[in-house]
Symmetry: C2
Subunit: 729 residues, 2 copies
C-alpha cells in the first residue's frame, strides 16, 4: 500500500512558504509568484523570521502565528535553518514538506551529516521531498514548481518523476508541445525521505495517472524500487529514461548527485524483469509517451504504411525493420483496390504503399487510407510525406500546388478514417525546412500537429522516431499478451532451511573469504544442486581409498585455504584411471605445491568422480550495489570469457525470468540440440536457477559465486566446479 500522505504534495488545500521575503529574487517569493501565475486556489502563507509583506501576503515571523491547518510546507531557507524549520512543521502537525534548499550531500561530508540529522528529526512524523529539488507540479491541485508558472494548467494522464529539476523542466516543456498533459510531477532531489520507490508506488495507485514517466540518474533504494516496478509488471506503462549507464556518464553522475548509477547488466535485467519501458533520449521519452498516450490500450501493432513518394517507403520499411515491427502483406482484395485507386505506373500497391506524389487529391487519400484501415491485417495506419501544409506545397509544387480549400479538406481525411474504422492513424510530420526565414512553415506545422493531436491522431517527426515509439508500445502489448505481465509469482523468501544452517555452520569455521570447493559443493548439494561431491583425503592412502570407493576415473585437486587458482600451480590432475595414477598424481601435486606455494597450509587433496562430459555452462552470482544479488547464466569456455554471451537477472527470479535468461543467450541454439546433438534438459536448468535464486536470497553473506563448469545433459546437469566468495563485512 502506497503512502496516502503523498497526496498532500499534489493537492494541498493550504501551503506555507518558508524563506519568502520582500525581494523578488528570493526563491520563496518566486514560488509564491509561480503559485499566483499558475492560479493556485488554496491558502498561501509565508514565514520569515524578519516578518514583512510580499506579493500581497503578510509574512509571519513564525508558524505559530498561523492558526489554520497547513497541508504542505515549502522550505527555501538556507541549509543551516532547515532542522529548526522542520521541527516547527512537526510541532504544527504538518505532514508534508518540500525542501528546495541545496547544500547537502551533494556538497560533501558535512552535508551528508546534516541529511542524517534531518532523517532523524522527521522520523515518520512528516514526509519530506528533497532537499535540493524543485518539488511537485499538479495542475488539478493548482501546484507548480518555482520555474513552472507557464506550465500547462490542464491535467492529463501522464505522471513524471525526476531527481533533476532542470531536466524535468526540459521534459515537461517538450512534452507540452506534443499534446502531453500531466496528472502529477515531482522533482525529488536528494531523496533522503520520499524517494523514487515511494513516488512510483504512489503513482501506481493513483487513479488519475495512466502512464508513469521517469528521468533517473541513480536509485536510493534499488531493491524496493525493483520490487515495486516488478509488481506493476506492465499494468501501467512505466517509461524510464535512465542515464549514467555508460562508464563516463556514471562517473559524471556520481560527481553531481552522489548516487550510484548501477551497471549496465543490472539495469538490463531490471528492464527485462519489470517490463518498464527503457528510453535513452529526450526525444525518445517524448515519443514513447505520445505513443502510449494516443494509442488505445491493447491495440495490435501491424502497420499499414503509405508514403507520398517511393523513397519514403524505403525509409519506412527500414525504420520498421530496425524497430522489430511488422508491415504485414495486405489481403488480395486490398491490393486490388489500391491498384484501382493508383493508376500510376511503377507505384507500389503492396505494403508499404507509394502514392507517387506528396499531395494527392483528398478523395484519393481518403480512398487509400480507408482501404488500408479496412484491411483485417492492418492494426495501425502510418502516413508519411503527404503535404498537409499549404505553404510547403507551394514551395515544392509551385503553381501546381492544390488550393487552400482542398488542402484543408485533405487535413480532415485522416480524422475521418480514424472515426470510421476505429484504427489508429499516425502522421509523420517532419520539420522539412529549418531556416530562419522558414519559421512560418514551422508555425503552420505546429498548427497541423495540434489539429491532429486534438483529434486523437499521434504525430511524430520522422520514420525512425515513429517506429521506435511504436515498438515500445508493441513490446508492452506483447508482454501483456504472452501473460508475462501476469507472472507475479515471486517466490516467497525461504527462512531457516537446513541449507542455511549448514551454510552458517561452515561460515563459522571458514577462515578466508573464499569457501573451498568441498564446502561449496556441500551447501550447493543441500540446496538441491547436483554436484560431483569431492572427498577430502589427507594422505595418499586416503586418496586411493576414496577413489576406490567412488569408482574411476577421478579428479584430484589440492585443498588449501590459500590456494584459489589451483590449476595454475599444478594443483589439479584429471582423468585418473587407477591406483597407480592416484599415487603419481598425489606426489606430483605435492611437489608442485611445495615449490610454488611453499607457505600455504595444505589440508590435503580432494578426490571426485569425473563427470560425464556434457554441454559446458556457467552459472554465476554477483552483487549489484543498487539491486543486490544477480544471477548470471551463459555458455562456458570462450563464449563467456571472450564473447560475453551471458544473461543476468536480479533475484529472486520468477520461473519466467529463469526461462527467459536461459533463452536470452545467443548460444541457446546449442542448448536446443545443434548438429545432431540431443537437446539439454532446459527445464532442469530452470529449476537449478530457481534453487540458486532461493539459496542466494537466504544467504546474504555470499558476495560472489561461480559454478563453472556446469555440465548439462539430456537429463539433468551437474556442477563440476564451484566457488563462493564471502562478504568480508
Amino acid at each position: 500500500m502506497s503512502d496516502k500522505v503523498l497526496n498532500r504534495f499534489f493537492l494541498p488545500k493550504s501551503v506555507v512558504v518558508f524563506g519568502a521575503s520582500e525581494s523578488i529574487y528570493s526563491y520563496g517569493t518566486r514560488f509564491i509568484q509561480a503559485l499566483h501565475d499558475f492560479g493556485y486556489k488554496g491558502k498561501i502563507y509565508a514565514v520569515n523570521y524578519k516578518g514583512e509583506k510580499t506579493l500581497g501576503h503578510k509574512i509571519y515571523r513564525s508558524l505559530d502565528e498561523i492558526k489554520d491547518k497547513i497541508d504542505l510546507a515549502f522550505i527555501t531557507v538556507s541549509a543551516k535553518y532547515i532542522l529548526g524549520t522542520l521541527n516547527e512543521c512537526i510541532a504544527k502537525d504538518i505532514k508534508a514538506a518540500v525542501a528546495f534548499t541545496a547544500g547537502f550531500s551533494e556538497t560533501g561530508a558535512q552535508g551528508r551529516e546534516l541529511e542524517k540529522e534531518i532523517v532523524k528529526t522527521i522520523g515518520g512524523k512528516l514526509r519530506l521531498i528533497g532537499p535540493n529539488c524543485f518539488g511537485p507540479y499538479c495542475p488539478s491541485g493548482g501546484i507548480t514548481v518555482v520555474t513552472g508558472g507557464e506550465f500547462a494548467k490542464e491535467s492529463g494522464p501522464v505522471a513524471l518523476i525526476a531527481q533533476s529539476g532542470q531536466l524535468s523542466e526540459c521534459i515537461i516543456a517538450r512534452a507540452q508541445g506534443e499534446g502531453i498533459r500531466y496528472s502529477k510531477f515531482a522533482s525529488y532531489g536528494n531523496a533522503i525521505d520520499v524517494n523514487e520507490a515511494d513516488l512510483i508506488d504512489f503513482l501506481m495507485d493513483d487513479k488519475n495517472t495512466r502512464i508513469i514517466t521517469q528521468y533517473l540518474e541513480g536509485v536510493r533504494d534499488g531493491r524496493r524500487f525493483f520490487d515495486i516496478a516488478r509488481r506493476n509488471a506492465g499494468e501501467k506503462p512505466h517509461i524510464i529514461w535512465k542515464v549514467g549507464l555508460t562508464q563516463m556518464g556514471a562517473s559524471a553522475s556520481s560527481s553531481h548527485t552522489g548516487s550510484l548509477a548501477g551497471t549496465g547488466a543490472a539495469w538490463d535485467a531490471f528492464f527485462r524483469q519489470t517490463g518498464a519501458v527503457q528510453v535513452s533520449t529526450l526525444d525518445e521519452m517524448t515519443d514513447a509517451t505520445v505513443a502510449f498516450n494516443h494509442l488505445p490500450k491493447g491495440c495490435g501493432m501491424r502497420v499499414g504504411y503509405i508514403s507520398g513518394g517511393g523513397a519514403g517507403t524505403v525509409l519506412g520499411a527500414d525504420a520498421c525493420d530496425t524497430a522489430g515491427m511488422e508491415m504485414p502483406a495486405f489481403t488480395k482484395q486490398t491490393e486490388n483496390k489500391l491498384a484501382e485507386l493508383l493508376p500510376g505506373v511503377g507505384l507500389s500497391f503492396r505494403n508499404p504503399v507509394d502514392v507517387g506524389n506528396p499531395h494527392p487529391p483528398k478523395e484519393l487519400l481518403y480512398g487509400l487510407l480507408s482501404t488500408m484501415a479496412a484491411d483485417k491485417n492492418v492494426d495501425v495506419v502510418v502516413v508519411r510525406r503527404i503535404l498537409f501544409s499549404v505553404k510547403m506545397s507551394k514551395i515544392f509544387s509551385g503553381s501546381t500546388a492544390p488550393s487552400e480549400k482542398d488542402q484543408k479538406e485533405l487535413l480532415e481525411v485522416p480524422v475521418k478514417v480514424l472515426k470510421k474504422y476505429g484504427k489508429p492513424v499516425i502522421i509523420i510530420l517532419p520539420d522539412d525546412m529549418t531556416g530562419t526565414e522558414s519559421i512560418y512553415l514551422e508555425e503552420e506545422r505546429r498548427k497541423i500537429r495540434d489539429y491532429f493531436f486534438a483529434n486523437g491522431i499521434a504525430v511524430f517527426m520522422s520514420e525512425q522516431r515513429t517506429f521506435a515509439a511504436l515498438s515500445h508500445l508493441s513490446k508492452f502489448q506483447q508482454r501483456n499478451r504472452t501473460g508475462r505481465a501476469a507472472d507475479k509469482k515471486i517466490p516467497a523468501p525461504v527462512k531457516g532451511s537446513k541449507t542455511r544452517k549448514l551454510f552458517l555452520n561452515i561460515l563459522e569455521k571458514t577462515e578466508t573469504p573464499i569457501m573451498d570447493e568441498i564446502q561449496c559443493k556441500k551447501v550447493l548439494k543441500s540446496a538441491g544442486i547436483k554436484v560431483t561431491l569431492p572427498v577430502l583425503a589427507a594422505s595418499k592412502k586416503e586418496a586411493v581409498a576414496a577413489a576406490d570407493r567412488m569408482g574411476y576415473p577421478v579428479a584430484m585437486k589440492i585443498v588449501s585455504p590459500q590456494i584459489t587458482h589451483k590449476s595454475d600451480i599444478g594443483g589439479v590432475k584429471l582423468k585418473l584411471q587407477n591406483k597407480a595414477d592416484i599415487g603419481k598424481a598425489y606426489d606430483e601435486i605435492m611437489a608442485a605445491v611445495r615449490k610454488k606455494a611453499a607457505k600455504a597450509r595444505i589440508d590435503g587433496v580432494s578426490i571426485q568422480k569425473m563427470a560425464q562430459p556434457g554441454l559446458e555452462l556457467v552459472i554465476g552470482m554477483t552483487r549489484d550495489p543498487q539491486f543486490g544479488p544477480m544471477l548470471m547464466f551463459g555458455l562456458g569456455g570462450t563464449s563467456v570469457e571472450i564473447l560475453k554471451d551471458v544473461a543476468f537477472r536480479i533475484t529472486p527470479l520468477t520461473r519466467q525470468d529463469a526461462g527467459e535468461m536461459v533463452r536470452q543467450i545467443k548460444g541457446y541454439r546449442l542448448l536446443e540440440g545443434y548438429r545432431g546433438q540431443p537437446p539439454v534438459d532446459i527445464e532442469y536448468l530452470e529449476d537449478t536457477l530457481m534453487k540458486l535464486s532461493s539459496f542466494i536470497e537466504e544467504n546474504p553473506e555470499i558476495k560472489e559465486m561461480d559454478i563453472n563448469p556446469l555440465f548439462a545433459y539430456k537429463k539433468g546437469a551437474v556442477a563440476v566446479d564451484a566457488r563462493i566468495i564471502l562478504d568480508e563485512k
Copy 2:
C-alpha cells in the same frame, strides 16, 4: 580521370528545354520558371512540336531552328518521344542531357527495353542523367531543379548526389537551415548512363567541392563505385546515407527503383574499406555535414564539456561514451582555475564541468570557456544548456533573468573564445519548447543558431546528436592519422598464372557445380595455400598404399560428385592409425554409401594425413550481387555458425584490409594467445587472405568457397577441408 563533360550539367552557358508549353503545369515550363526564379544567366531555349510561347520564350518546333550552341538539354517529353529527342540532341552535338521523364525500368519490362534502346542511341556521343530524375542544382551555374526555385543561391563546399529527387529536396531543405551551402547537386534517377560512380568520380576531382554527401538506395555499378570510393580513401569526406540495409527496406527499395540494395555485410565491408562515412537518418546526415563543414580539417577531437546544470554533464558524458569519444582530464592548473571561478558548492570543476545554473554572467562564461580552451588536453569545447535565449531565460528564471543587454553580450562569448584560442567551440541548442504558442522561442533559437554558424561555431540540437556528429569526424581523422587513408596499395590483378591454368583445366573436366575436395586443394595449393592434400584411392589396396606413403594417422573420405555432405551419410573416418584401420574404414564407408546414396557414382576414397590440431578458423568467399566477391574470416565451430563472429571484405584486399578483418572478430583474443596458449601466426593468416583475394579475383567462375576448418598454429596454418562451388553460368 573523371569525365569533364559532366561540368556541363552544372555550369551550362545555354540550355534547351524539351516539352515546355503554354501550360504552367507542364514540367518543361515549370523548369523554365524555376530557372527564372533562381536567376539563371545563360540562354534558355524551349522546344515543343506545337510551337508556342511560354514565360517570354519562343517555343521552337525543332532543335534545328536554334542556331546557337547548346550545352545542356533538359527533356520532359513523354517516354515514347525520348529516343527521337535524343537523336536530335546528338545531331546538334549536344553533349549533356537530363531526362526528367518517368515511365522506364521502374514500370516494368517494356520500360527496361526502352532504356536499353536509349543506351544504344547515346552510345558515348552524349552523357545522360536520368531518366526519372530531378537533375542538377548548382548555385554558381545558376542551375536548379524543377522544385528548387527557392533553393539557396549562394555556393558552398558541399556536394550531394541522390537517386531520389524527393529525398534530395528534403536533404537540401534541411541542410540550408543548418548553414550548409552546396557546390553541386544531382538527382540521377534510373542512372542508365551517368551513375553514382561517374558523379562521385567527378566530384572527387571538383575543386569547389570539399565534402561529398550522398543518399543511396542501390548502386548500378558496385564494383566501380567501390573502386572510386576506395581510391579517395579519406581525402575528401564522403558521407553516405545508405538506405534499404534492412531486409524490409531492401524489398521496398527494389519495388521502387529496380536496383539491388546489397546485403548488410557487403555494405559494412564497403564502409570499412573505403573510409566513407555512414549515416542512417536525415538528422545524422545533416549533423555529420555540419561537423565536417565547420570543424577544421585535421583538428583533434578531445572534448572539454561544460553544462549549465548537473544533469547535463551526465547526458553529455553518456553521449560522449556512446559515441566512443573522449573527455580527457583537465590539467591541474585548469581545475584550480575553474574551482576559483566557480565558488558554488557541489559543482564539478573536472571535465565535464557543471556551471550550476543556465545563465551565468558573461564574465564568468568567458572565464570558464577560455580556461577550458587554453587547456592543452582539450581540442574542442562543447557548451550545453547555457541559455543564450533572452526569452527562454525569462520563462525559466522569471524576474531573476538577466537583462537583454547582458544576454546579447553572453552570445558573443563563444565567438571571442573561438577567435582567441583557435579551438572549435560547439553549442548545443535544443528546441526546448515546441508548443504552437512558443513559436517565438523557435524563431529566436534559429537566429541565435544563425549567429553562431555565421561566426564559425557549429550548432547541434542535442548531446547525442553532437557527439554522434563529432564521432564521424573523429573516426575520419583517426583513419587519416594512422595512415589508413594512404593505404592505396591495391594489388594489381594477376592474369594467366599457373593456378589459373590448373583451375581452367579442372573446370573443363568437372561435371557438377561443386569441385571435389581433391580438386579444391590442388588449386589452393597452387595458389600458395598450405593444405592437407588428399590422394584419391580407387580401391582398398590403393588406400593402404597411399596411407603408408604419407604416414599415419590419416583421414578417409568418400569421393563422389553426388555426395557433398560426406559425414552425414557416414562417408568420413578420422584418426586411422594403421593398415587394419584403413581396411575396416574402407569397408564401412562403402557399406554406408551403398545404403544411403545407392545411385551416387563412387570415384573412390580420399586419403589424407591428419593435421595437427590447431586453432580452428574459417575462411569463406561469397559473391555480393553489387560488389562481387567478398572474403569472410572467422573462428570455426559454433563461433561462426551460432554466434556469427565473422568479418567480410570486398576483394581485392589491401594488406591493411587483411589485417583489419582478422582483428575485427570478437574472438581475436583467442588468436593472440589466450590462457597460456601460444598466439597463432597472424602474419601468415594475413598472407593467406591476400593470396585467396588474388585467387578469387583471377577465377571469376568461383561462386562460393569454404575453407573450413583452417587450422592455425604458432607457425603457419593449414586448410584441412575446402569446398568450391562454381557459377553455373
